[in-house]
Amino acid sequence: MAAGHTFEPRILGFLCNWCCYAGADLAGVSRYQYPPNIRVIRLMCSGRVDPAFILRAFLNGTDGVFIGGCWLGECHYITEGNYDALSMVYICKKLLEHIGLNPERLRLEWVSAGEGIRFANIMNEFVPGIEKLGPLGKGEGLDEHELKFKLEAVTKLIPYIKLVERERLRVPVRTEEEYHKFFTSDEFNRLFNELIGDKLAVCQIMALLRERSLSAGEISEILGLSPSEVSRHLNVLARNQNLKTVAVDNDKIDQIINKHQGKAGSLVQVLLEIQHENHWLPQDVLDRVSTKLDVPLSRIMQIVTFHKTFSLVPKGRNEVHVCVGPSCYVRGSTRLLDTVQDLIGIKPGETDPDSKFSLETGNCLGCCNLGPEIIVDGKHHGRVTPDKVKDVLKNYE
């Protein structure tokens, strides 16, 4: 060995119990030779591999991650977990690429229980490949701090990414070709950038600003984004009051908590009041309520996810409610809702990209004489025909 020390890649394997793990076992029993770098974690199904596992592996300095499952169509569960693994790996590769890591560091293969030799062959190929890429981050020219920062930002987004996957990135037909076609299409690229890329940028900006205050130029340099992109994100954040609420006004929250503390059922009242003041419930606030009132976070989440009164995401500057109570319904609220959706370009439950409007449908507020009606920021606008609604909405900035 020339330099006295060689790079020994650290590789983590997630193998499904029924096929690949048995395959690897067979490789061993049959005395096939392959590099000993892989450490194996056995799972019941390749579909069990959560993106968080992969990111955690990389965060802990693993240089490559291998996932092995049954051949498509042969998963041992009717949910066909290996298709889930397939789409998850496509998305994770995209994510790795997005933060500047080589997607080759992640590999998914199908190995049946009888294919011991196949397992050994794959390892004989994968391990030297990683060796060539060099240690994680160093190989790509990222310094340690930057690497950690980026991986952490992605990790934070995982619940959101899973949601996007479920709502927008699901392939309707379960065949390998269809998956390949979709995940290599421009459509996927577009959706990824729009839904995940932007969010990731925002997430990183917020993480940076949480540490210390920075100028737009500095942010663009650190994150390798164009200045115009950074300022676009900053604008949205500021209008959203996100920049402000990142540092939550703890005194105010404490005031609200103290006001109700000790009283019966204080939890619901505290949450309602914070929602009313702040228009949404940031995670740190929920944490604070949890500690101060000494109730588990799970119970808080049970309440705040029960109804749309509570919002876990920031709302737009103007909250538009279209009443869909029965009286308004028979008087034409469906058409009114359609018009509002067209006008502001979002569906109920959404906030537009400029954070100008959030749209919700509301149930009867007892002003049936006004039907159909819309309520903007608590102000009732009654007897609104679809052509009148434009005049109502144009008054809001």
């Binding site: 009164t309 319904y329 008087r331």
Partner: protein, 558 residues
């Protein structure tokens, strides 16, 4: 403020309040109810204030922002006392004229008074307007005479005399007896006798007991509880204190909507004022009886109006119902006996104590006594809150008070009780308003919302609408409700969209039976009620929708 320590002091205070009031002094009462809110009543009120200031009339004319007058369709409403001239659909522009003509010169402004849309007949006084003429306004009548934020106004109309009578002259048993004799039935939906519920709570073991006002009013299209609770909060409070005394409770809760700030503000104000006068708190009216009240807000979930869910919500838990093998009147909040009644039920209590059960039972039908507040909405000319004696026919309410159907359309059905109610067709409109009569027809009265549907309405669609609502509101704790509603909704959606199949109706009936029998709380138990009632009266519509599908399928096969 003086603290009142006895009945005579209360009467003295009342005399003092009345002596300061000149019955001939003009007073402008402007509706500040929920329905008028969206019609810019705020601008009308401030226009009056400005005008009165400008003309330097502050000492000569009173302005009063009152609770809902009921006739929301024609809001904002303005009543000019002492002549009780009633102006409808008033705009800020009309204000100077009203002050100079009507208030100062007693002249009626012709263009602002009510004119019948059919006959053109005009009515200058509230009592002459057809909407009001056919009502019996025991509960809501005072709304126009009271500023909900002034306890003196309530005292001026005789408020809290029932409380003083109860606490100082009657024993709890006597009150219970009186309520039982009045046959007061719960107005929140079930129609359960209030006297029996109170008695159960009173006799339940344990020292600590609670009384609760259910002001959640989740029923879609119902808005009468709000009208009372925000327009005349003291009447509900008075009933609550009397009930607490009868049951032996020292802590009450008012549970109400978070999305209507007016409600909480007016209730909080009423509590503060009552406390200052010594009508609430320690040693009420010197009787030795202590009682405190807390206000709790809902989080906008329909099921939190259900008794056990509501109590869990007050405890600070998510509002999920529990099975009621043991009644909440025996084991409610924190396992203590808790008597829960609807806003309207409580508001009836002072009336009964004041005027006696005999007077009370003289109105109504065999098994439903007194009056009922109903809210009219949907395809109807006069949207609003009306109060009628039980026994009034549905036709009278819809046509006599409600003014019939707009745009010359014919009526198809009246839907009672929101998502857990049912519809009756045109042919049954002569049914009297009565808990049992309507329940027999499959359209229980519920809290009193009446949704009027015209001939263009598809009954399949409206049924689907209610199930859609319930599928969102089901808490998901029990499977029959969660899944049953979902599957019924799916089938109905198919039928509506012309994808129905033969056998769907029978399948719906089967699912509804299981859902009704096996669900945990009344939400699931009654979820299929709109479906069953429309299947009962409008089955042909379902069949026609399905047949349409079959025909087009056959055509394709040919």
């Amino acid at each position: 403020m003086p603290r009142i320590n006895s009945a005579s002091e209360l009467e003295e205070l009342r005399k003092g309040v009345l002596s300061k009031r000149d019955p001939d002094k003009p007073c402008i009462a402007i509706c500040a109810g929920m329905g008028c809110l969206g019609l810019s009543n705020g601008r009308v009120i401030s226009a009056f204030e400005k005008e009165i200031n400008k003309k330097d009339l502050k000492t000569k004319v009173d302005i009063r922002a009152t609770g809902c007058h009921g006739y929301c369709e024609k809001g904002p409403m303005v009543l000019i006392y002492p002549e009780e001239i009633c102006y409808v659909e008033v705009t800020p522009k009309d204000v100077p004229e009203i002050v100079s003509q009507t208030v100062l010169r007693k002249k009626v402004i012709d263009r602002l008074i009510y004119a019948d849309p059919d006959t053109g007949e005009k009515a200058a006084h509230q009592a002459e307007i057809p909407f009001y003429k056919n009502q019996m306004r025991h509960l809501i009548g005072n709304n126009a005479k009271i500023d909900p934020r002034s306890i003196d106004d309530y005292l001026a109309v005789g408020g809290y005399s029932a409380l003083s009578k109860s606490l100082l002259k009657m024993s709890p048993e006597q009150i219970l007896e009186e309520i039982k004799k009045a046959e007061l039935r719960g107005r929140g939906g079930g129609g359960f006798p209030a006297g029996r519920k109170w008695e159960t709570a009173r006799n339940a073991p344990g020292k600590e007991k609670y009384v609760i006002v259910n002001g959640h009013e989740g029923e879609l299209g119902a808005f009468m509880d709000r009208a009372i609770l925000s327009g005349n909060p003291h009447s509900v409070l008075e009933g609550l204190i009397i009930g607490a005394y009868a049951i032996g409770s020292h802590q009450g809760f008012i549970y109400t909507r978070h999305d209507t700030p007016q409600l909480k503000n007016n209730i909080d104000m009423a509590l503060t004022q009552a406390e200052e006068y010594g009508l609430l708190g320690e040693n009420i009216l010197g009787s030795g009886f202590d009682f405190h009240v807390e206000v709790h807000l809902d989080i906008g979930i329909f099921v939190s109006g259900e008794s056990s869910a509501l109590m869990r919500s007050i405890e600070g838990n998510p509002p999920e119902p529990r099975p009621k093998y043991i009644r909440t009147s025996v084991s409610g909040i924190w396992g203590k006996p808790s008597a829960l009644n609807n806003v309207e039920t409580w508001a009836n209590v002072p009336l009964i104590i004041d005027k006696g059960s005999e007077w009370y039972t003289s109105t109504g039908t065999e098994r439903s006594k007194g009056t009922k507040l109903v809210s009219l909405s949907g395809n109807i000319v006069n949207t609003g809150v009306a109060e009628v004696p039980f026994g009034t026919t549905v036709r009278e309410i819809v046509f006599g008070i409600g003014g019939g159907i707009p745009n010359g359309k014919k009526i198809k059905a009246v839907h009672f009780g929101g998502p857990m109610g049912g519809s009756i067709p045109e042919s049954l409109l002569d049914t009297p308003l009565d808990f049992d009569e309507l329940a027999k027809l499959g359209a229980p009265i519920g809290a009193g919302s009446m949704l009027v549907l015209d001939e263009d309405t598809s009954m399949v669609d409206i049924t689907r609408y209610f199930l859609d609502f319930l599928s969102n509101e089901s808490c998901g704790k029990c499977v029959p409700c969660r899944e049953g509603i979902r599957q019924m909704l799916r089938i109905l959606t198919n039928i509506r969209d012309g994808k129905g199949r033969e056998g769907d109706i029978e399948l719906l009936e089967e699912i509804s039976e299981v859902t009704g029998a096996a669900s945990l709380c009344a939400l699931g138990k009654t979820a299929a009620d709109p479906l069953l009632s429309t299947l009962r009266y409008f089955r042909d519509e379902y069949e026609a929708n399905i047949a349409k599908m079959k025909r087009s399928a056959e055509k394709r096969e040919l």
